[in-house]
Amino acid sequence: MNPKDLATTAVNTWCPGCGNFSILNAMRMVLAQLDDEGYPIENVVLVSGIGCHAKIVDYMNVNSFYSIHGRTLPVATALKLANPDLKVICFSGDGDSLAEGLDHLIFAAKRNIDVTLILHDNRVYGLTTGQYTPTSPQGFKGKSTPEGAVEHPMNPLELMLVSGASYIARGYSHGIEQLQKLFKRAILHKGFSFVDVLQVCVSYNNLYESYNKWTYTVEGNDATSFEEAQKIIRSWNYDSSEAAIPLGKFYEIDAPRFDQAFAQHAQHAPNLWERDSKIKELLENFI
């Protein structure tokens, strides 16, 4: 399959130079590849929240559920429970998943549900024109924090690690080849996979220069080690712009999944006629 076949007629409204283009192109390439490798495209369902990131589903000719702000994961979880054959991929923003929908993110990791979440982490609210987000550094001067944000940012990867996510990685919108690699592995991973993408917002938080200087790819790390993953993840806390920022796959383990527990039920779903007699049978216990 040619990745170009996954385009739609929708007019792209992202700003020129937006980091979302890399995510879009990397994902198209990965899905086309996977289709060639026996993971048919019709089995993929994309779920997005609300924000600049979310427009991605309009730009991909793939099944999608364009959901609401912060709510990708409940939709995605149910999709996976409804049909375990589906490959479910969420696109979410830092405001989307870390502010509005943080409860769902923690629970998705806790359940280790077999879905993937790509976090378009531009560390600013773009569509609402420039307010601080949960990953903006302290002192960030946004429209809602003109004197600078008081809070320190949260480290979403650290949160995911302790919450039970079984695949954790970070990419950068300037490294499309790495993004492809990380996305593909995340989608093929069985369990909750979380990819933080440092996705630059050229209009409200242009960090290209800083990221180009400070990012590096970790190599030779033992991704099955919780301690090692924690150490790498904690080496950059989103606050400082003068520190090395690790990229790559930090953690990947096999762990029991929420969706496994439901597989058996589906086999016993009775038809309407059987339901009738089963109900009458059940009612005997109530006499």
Binding site: D58, F65, T77
Partner: protein, 570 residues
């Protein structure tokens, strides 16, 4: 005997609900119709709980304040409920613990605590013991109780039977009622709560998934679904909050699995965001909404009908919805199935609007009276025929677009919370925005048309009476019984949305005095009917968390000031 009311009371943890169910089963086995109201505070142990069991030769769905027998497991029960006793009523009580003033004439004191102690039986078995005595007093044969205990008591049956028999034997010699219980020829019906009826109705119509966060008084739907998931291939999920609940239901719907959610007012507040999404994305979902006393936390374990307008208007923007308010177990069963079918036929949110009274009261359930769902084929969802390119929001004459579920080779299925074109791509185009709204209106009209074939308004009692009661939901039982007694017309509105204006107006022909009966402080149905030019002349409202008893409603009606009524009519 025609009608017989028994109240059993004690503290939470005494198993008062279960004891009430056992008393209900006794009468049910003898062929009586049962209605049991269960009253309990929001705590786990202590406090005062009571079950009020009414047995009747007629079909009933209302309780009476006055009782024939009081079963008191503690002193508080006597103090709280002695005013309910009639001249010939009497009290069965634990003589080791409870003191009764007029014990000689009114009492049947059994040494429950001593019997249990001697038998080395745990305290919860006092129910079996006292119900043993109860059977003797009201003239129910030992074999009936024995059969019921054998069927329904899973643990320590022998010991239960032993203490029950001792209670039964000890009651010999105490006063008995004048006309003992006689056997009816009716076969016993199952005894189920409204929530169980709702659950079974959904399951029957093909429910595939149930998603809920526990909230009284809806929680027992979740418990029932989870407990029976294996039998019916149900996927039951209890997620982090009601926001997730509502979104998960739509993930299931998108994938083609029929899903329902359940909650009460506070939980539903969290669902409204997702409800509006269901409206825009045209996701079929069913909401079991069981009202309790509000606003906010209110009185969690008590009833109300305060959320009609909330449900009617919940969610930003305009989109069609189906709302039905069943009035008893049979209607809860039948209409829950209808709600699921209509949600899928028209791709709209469907509400089953009940309250604590329906959800947790126990009813004799006659499945044959409930009615069969219409031909499932005619009610089946409209599916994509596989011919032309698939468009999720394809325009049709009915406003209903064919459904398809992934995977569909060569096709793309796009659901969207934004205004979207036929293929589900976001747009801000003015023409399409208007078309989308028109599509929703069209769906609403198609739904209303479909409902013409249903009995969305019911008329009972004296259909020629110029005085009528109008009610919805749980007040059906009390209104119906009183209308029959007083020779009034009684009108029950089942469908709240789309509003059955024509049917209601025809049911109201020649009515001169119309009283609405509701468990809220403003007359919510009366206000809704007012939008359609239907005027009520009197509002009989109860908003203390307790359902109307027969006596409540009768005295309210009798004491309704004539002058006020005349002023209303003028």
């Amino acid at each position: 005997m025609e009608n017989f009311s028994t109240l059993i009371g004690g503290i939470a943890g005494d198993g008062i609900n279960e004891a009430g169910i056992t008393v209900s089963r006794l009468y049910s086995h003898l062929g009586y119709h049962i209605y049991m109201y269960y009253d309990y505070p929001s705590l786990i142990r202590g406090g005062h709980n009571f079950s009020l069991v009414r047995a009747s030769r007629q079909e009933i769905a209302a309780h009476t304040d006055r009782i024939d027998i009081l079963i008191a497991l503690n002193q508080e029960t006597v103090e709280k409920h002695k005013s309910r006793l009639k001249e010939k009523s009497f009290v069965i009580y634990d003589a080791d613990k409870v003191k009764l003033d007029d014990a000689k004439h009114k009492g049947c004191g059994l040494t429950i605590t001593s019997i249990l102690k001697e038998a080395e039986a745990p305290s919860v078995m006092k129910n079996s013991c006292i119900i043993g005595g109860y059977c003797k007093v009201v003239g129910i044969e030992w074999s009936v109780l024995e059969e019921i205990l054998k069927k329904h008591i899973p643990k320590k049956l022998e010991l239960n039977l032993q203490v029950a028999r001792q209670g039964y034997d000890q009651a010999e010699g105490f006063c008995r009622i004048d006309r003992p219980v006689d056997k009816q020829d009716q076969k016993p019906h199952p005894l189920i709560t409204g929530n169980q009826a709702v659950s079974l109705g959904l399951i029957k119509a093909g429910l595939g998934a149930y998603v809920a966060y526990p909230m009284t008084p809806s929680s027992s739907v979740l418990d029932f679904m989870a407990g029976n998931a294996g039998h019916f291939g149900l996927k039951v999920v209890h997620p982090e909050n009601e926001i997730a609940v509502m979104l998960m239901a739509q993930g299931f719907a998108y994938a083609g699995v029929k899903a329902a959610v359940g909650t009460s007012g506070g939980g539903f507040c969290l669902m409204t965001e997702g409800l509006s999404l269901a409206g825009m994305a045209e996701m079929p979902i069913v909401v079991v909404m069981s009202q309790r006393t509000g606003p906010s936390t209110g009185i969690p374990t008590y009833t109300a009908q305060g959320d009609l307008h909330f449900i009617l208007n919940a969610g930003q923007g305009e989109f069609p919805r189906f709302i039905v308010a069943p009035g008893d177990a049979e209607e809860a069963y039948y209409w829950s199935g209808v709600a699921l079918n209509l949600a899928w036929k028209f791709q709209v949110p469907s509400f089953i609007l009940v309250d604590k009274t329906i959800s947790e009261s126990l009813y004799s359930f006659n499945i044959d009276l409930a009615g069969e769902l219409k031909d499932q084929a005619a009610q089946a969802p409209l599916l994509w025929n596989g011919q032309q390119e698939y468009k999720r929001y394809h325009y049709t004459d009915t406003g209903v677009s064919p459904l398809a579920f992934p995977p569909q080779k060569g096709q793309v299925i796009k659901a969207n919370s934004y205004v979207h074109d036929e293929s589900g791509i976001t747009t801000e185009d003015a023409r399409i925005a208007r078309e989308v709204s028109n599509k929703f209106c069209q769906k609403g009209q198609s739904l209303a048309q479909d409902l013409e074939a249903y009995e969305t308004v019911k008329v009972f009692g004296d259909k020629n009476s110029k005085t009528a009661l109008i009610c919805w939901g749980s007040n059906k039982g009390v209104c119906l019984e009183l209308a029959l007694k007083l020779g009034l017309r009684m009108i029950q509105v089942l469908a709240i949305s789309p509003f059955p204006e024509k049917k209601l107006k025809s049911a109201l022909q020649e009515v001169e005095r119309l009283f609405c009966v509701e468990c809220n402080s403003t007359g919510q149905l009366a206000r809704l009917a007012g939008f359609y030019g239907i005027q009520t002349h009197g509002r009989i409202l109860k908003y203390d968390g307790r359902p109307f008893s027969l006596e409540d409603l009768e005295s309210e009606l009798e004491s309704y000031p004539e002058s006020e009524l005349e002023r209303a009519l003028a």
